[in-house]
């Protein structure tokens, strides 16, 4: 079924995660290849963000394996994910509202000189780099020193995207990237996804809305109640088929059923 050949960039196998008694993610398999856009779809609470946070190193998985470029990865911390080239635009954007764009772009990965026990930040250099990266994305975004709480939704999104670009993601996770955006900004994000894809970056595009992502995605993975309903190439299924997967958990012809597919489809 997978049309791509060669080693996948990301291979998650049999991944589990529970919060107390809630099985947020149950026995999930997903793969992602270089230059591929895989849409992860499902209702709110389906487990999409939890799955992606395990790949981002933010949650530790209870069971299962993850291979990045064919190598087993622990993914015990966000820092480990960053080192493997996995960048995430979180659903919440993960911005500190009291800090400005520059501080947020470099948050946790400041340019700094080590002096004894201290790491002294090169603020001027960071501001310089931030200005360049951000102006590439949005030339009109110049208020780099305004605390994020005073920025628009689009500007906040820009900072989160700028992080992924500056730190040269190989694998990019975009968790509901257009949820807070207007139509014009959504189109800009779509253009960006195409551009990054053409550079060979693998992208997980998370959404609860099929219309946002169907045209951009090479494949869809549909989740329901923490399990995969099915996986399909977007060329092999219709949007209605995918809607059926999301709403009813019904796996259509042309899709590979997962553990969460309804056992007796009618």
């Amino acid at each position: 079924m997978e049309t791509q050949t060669g080693k996948p960039l990301v291979e998650m196998r049999g991944v589990f995660k529970a919060f107390g008694g809630v099985h947020a993610v149950e026995d999930v398999d997903v793969t992602l290849h270089a230059g591929e856009v895989v849409a992860v779809l499902g209702h709110n609470g389906a487990g999409k963000s939890t799955l992606m946070k395990m790949l981002a190193g933010a949650y530790r998985r209870d069971a299962g394996s993850v291979h990045i470029d064919g190598k087993a990865a622990e993914l015990a911390s966000p820092a480990e994910a960053f080192e493997l080239g996995i960048e995430t635009i979180h659903q919440t954007l993960a911005l500190a509202d009291n800090l400005d764009a520059t501080a947020n772009l470099f948050l946790g990965r400041e340019i700094a000189w080590r002096v004894g026990p201290f790491r002294i930040m090169d603020s001027a250099r960071m501001r310089d780099v931030a200005a360049k990266v951000i102006s590439q994305l949005n030339p009109r975004f110049t208020n780099l020193n305004t605390p994020c709480r005073d920025l628009s939704g689009g500007q906040r999104q820009t900072i989160a995207i700028a992080r992924a670009i500056h730190f040269e993601a190989h694998v990019l996770i975009m968790d509901e990237p257009t949820a807070a955006l207007g139509p014009h900004e959504t189109a800009m994000v779509a253009d960006l996804i195409r551009e990054l894809k053409s550079k060979g970056i693998g992208i997980f595009l998370i959404s609860h809305d099929i219309h946002d992502v169907f045209d951009l995605a090479d494949r869809v993975v549909v989740m329901k109640n923490g399990q995969v309903v099915g996986t399909a190439n977007t060329s092999d299924v219709s949007q209605d088929d995918v809607l059926g997967m999301i709403i009813l958990g019904k796996c259509p012809e042309g899709a590979i059923p997962g553990p969460g597919a309804r056992s007796n489809p009618q």
């Binding site: 981002a56 190193g57 933010a58 911390s77 966000p78 820092a79 960053f82 995430t88 979180h90 919440t92 954007l93 993960a94 911005l95 500190a96 509202d97 009291n98 800090l99 400005d100 501080a103 948050l107 946790g108 990965r109 400041e110 700094a112 201290f118 790491r119 002294i120 930040m121 603020s123 001027a124 250099r125 501001r127 310089d128 200005a131 949005n138 009109r140 975004f141 110049t142 208020n143 780099l144 020193n145 305004t146 628009s152 689009g154 500007q155 820009t158 014009h184 900004e185 800009m188």
Partner: protein, 403 residues
């Protein structure tokens, strides 16, 4: 994608680089109002070299604690134990120096200071561990600490008062000989102003080289104001004479200790990644975690810093009293918190400045001192300071809401 596209590029300068912090400046204004008011009410007793010298010495302890309290509050935590930790560390130093180590040994007092600092760090680490790694709220952990270390302060010497301290140790308290003297005070002034000026020039150069607009004129003005204020400070301290002599005292040692603490803490909060991380944690701890910031270690280090500052404040306090008592430092946690909050620290985290905390401490001590001068009782002073704290937080909320 933006409505702020008309912002001129000249706006692209961090507020802290553009000259003045409005909040801190208005607090300085408030300080002047307090000083002049009490000067008039007390019939000219407030703005005297003697009173100002004493305020500086008293402020030092509260300000040292308030610096640590500020970074703790910035991480969205609180430390209610600082008065007790100060008392406990002070008693341990007193016991070692006066009863355990040989009195005449030259290494006696330096070793007790080192042990005191280490003990402060250890107590801070103990609190930090419970808070950052065991997830117990800081309010509860340090409320426990308030009781534990006040009790421990009593147990150290069964509530006895220990005295006297080593004469050299007592210099830390800013007593009769505990000041720099006239000449060295002016020398210190020159050295600091030269270093400050050079630092500003270096930063300005680097910003300009990278193509950023750096407000040279505002910086020169700021430098000039600091220069005048520092000169006035040194001149005042120099004009307070030792008893029955015409020898000026100069900058008190506690103020030097505070100055070192402030310079170090300003450096840490502004220029190091640790400083960046405490603000990020207070602003949004989830975002901090998702970006790979070691949030637990950072909070642990913040509490260790607070513990060390408690120990430094313990040295100054015991040296000034020339005695170790188990009640030393009672209620100081409240002054420290009030100073930090008046200085602009937000209890909801992510906001606060070292300079603000120092000015906040000055305001509290000036009020205390001013009310003593006009004959207010200690109960009346408590009422007044409580009201001022509430008014300050209200004004702060109101002003920042309007911005």
């Amino acid at each position: 994608m933006t409505t702020e596209s008309l912002d001129p590029p000249a706006m692209n300068v961090a507020p802290r680089d553009s000259g003045f912090n409005v909040r801190t400046l208005s607090l300085v204004g408030l300080l002047f109002v307090i000083a002049v008011t009490f000067h008039l009410l007390s019939g000219g007793l407030f703005l005297t070299a003697r009173n100002l010298y004493n305020i500086v010495v008293q402020t030092s302890v509260v300000a040292i604690l308030a610096c640590g309290m500020t970074i703790v509050i910035v991480t969205r935590n609180i430390d209610l134990s600082v008065g007790s930790v100060l008392g406990c560390v002070g008693m341990v130093i007193a016991l070692l120096q006066i009863q355990i180590f040989p009195q005449e040994a030259a290494w006696n007092w330096p070793l007790t200071v080192v042990i005191g600092l280490a003990l402060g760090a250890l107590i801070g680490a103990w609190h930090g561990f419970w808070i950052a790694y065991l997830g117990v709220p800081s309010f509860v952990v340090t409320l426990g600490g308030l009781l534990i270390f006040r009790g421990a302060a009593f147990e150290v010497a069964q509530g006895k008062t220990l005295a006297p301290f080593d004469p050299i140790y007592r210099l830390f308290g800013g007593g009769i000989d505990g000041a720099l003297g006239v000449g060295p005070s002016w020398m210190l002034f020159v050295v600091i102003m030269v270093l400050y000026g050079l630092g500003e020039i270096l930063v300005h150069r680097r910003q300009t080289r990278l193509g950023f607009h750096s407000k040279a004129r505002a910086k020169v003005l700021r430098f000039a104001l600091v220069l005048v204020a520092a000169a006035a400070f040194v001149a005042t301290m120099n004009s307070y004479l030792k008893p029955r002599s015409d020898i000026g005292r100069g900058v008190p040692i506690p103020a030097l200790v505070l100055l070192s603490v402030v310079l170090f803490m300003e450096f840490v909060t502004r220029f190091t990644t640790f400083g960046r991380y405490i603000f990020a944690i207070g602003g949004n701890i989830d975002a901090a975690r998702l970006n790979g910031i070691p949030t637990r270690r950072t909070v642990l280090v913040a509490f260790i810093t607070m513990g060390v500052l408690c120990a430094i404040a313990a040295v100054v306090t015991t040296a000034r009293l020339n005695a170790g008592t188990s009640s030393t430092g009672e209620l100081l946690e409240l002054s420290a918190i009030a100073a930090a909050v008046i200085g602009g620290a937000s209890l909801s985290g992510g906001r606060g400045t070292i300079a603000g905390a120092v000015v906040g401490a000055l305001i509290i001590q000036s009020l205390e001192s001013g009310m003593v001068l006009i004959g207010a009782s200690s109960s009346q002073r408590m009422v007044a300071i409580g009201l001022v704290l509430m008014a300050a937080v209200f004004a702060d909320k109101y002003l920042s809401g309007e911005e």
